[in-house]
Symmetry: C2
Subunit: 187 residues, 2 copies
């Protein structure tokens, strides 16, 4: 209200509001149709300020979809399946807006495709690190793509077949396939 | 060359050329960025002719992504797994341009999303028809989304992990999970 904030703090809050608005809009309509004007409108600021703070729509997008990688650890094959399935709990509920924004645009916008490849690559690295065998990276990729397909169908295409299905039920059905991909537990 | 074609035949051929160009372009850059002008250029015709023949970009898109459904039959659970995996042979090689066009745009363009839902729904119906049990549609949906995820990762995101991997190898790795989703073979 009448609170007086230091200039740097005010700027940080405004940037945060713009990024929130950008994430929502990119997630909703994708990169191509999310205009600077619309982002500014949703954040309650002037479009010129968005450009001043972020430089371009592309740079705004990069900031908006930046995700902090999940914490690591070195679990075994069984744990990694449960970890992969555990992310489904989030995914069936509400995926972070930054991930939705990236997924929404990854097939039409080169910048989003690059973000998606990088993020999926990190996920594949993490999963592969817990598997043994020559084709660990291939199997880790397929585990990741299984979850990507389910996430796209549920969160972005909103298929009616998955609506209201409890995540545990989906996890129960996917577990045998993910276990088969993870391979035998290391001794 | 000097061949004289009836007017209707000439129009049919020109329409075919425009649709081919549209499919390629929608598949490559998605709905938003595929302009009528670029389609016309690729087909070697005037943009006005594209509008005259198809009426709007949206109608052109609808025609371009129209897919003839695969033939039915009523296979059992094991056959349906092999059928689902068999489509992978196509998908790991080259998916029809019409399907690529639709997949490319399904997350950002409402018309493409509707096409994708319809097409996935038909696939889910076909697969569910071969499964028994209460949750046949849910399991059929997950089988379909597993293949969607692999297709998106391989064909649209072009993940390096899947580059050059023989389709039979991917099929071998996915088979146990799809079998588990298909459930026990009907007696």
């Amino acid at each position: 209200m009448g609170e007086v904030l230091p200039r740097a703090e005010r700027r940080r809050r405004t940037e945060g509001r713009i990024l929130d608005a950008a994430r929502s809009l990119f997630a909703e309509v994708g990169y191509e149709r999310a205009t600077i004007r619309a982002v500014a409108g949703a954040a309650g600021v002037d479009p010129a300020l968005v450009m001043q703070y972020f430089g371009s729509k592309q740079k705004l997008f990069q900031q908006a979809v930046r995700v902090t990688p999940a914490d690591g650890g070195e679990p075994g094959a069984d744990e990694v399946v449960e970890h992969v399935l555990g992310t489904l709990g989030v995914k069936m509920g509400e995926l972070p807006q930054s991930s939705l924004a990236m997924l929404r645009s990854m097939l039409t916008h080169p910048e989003a495709a690059a973000s998606a490849r990088r993020l999926l690559g990190e996920q594949i690295d993490r999963v592969a690190g817990s598997l043994s065998g020559d084709d660990a990276r291939l199997r880790a990729s397929l585990m990741t793509l299984v979850m990507l397909g389910v996430t796209v169908g549920h969160q972005l295409l909103e298929l009616e077949e998955l609506r209201g299905v409890p995540p545990e039920e989906v996890a129960r059905l996917l577990r045998p396939g993910l276990r088969a991909l993870a391979g035998p537990e290391a001794p």
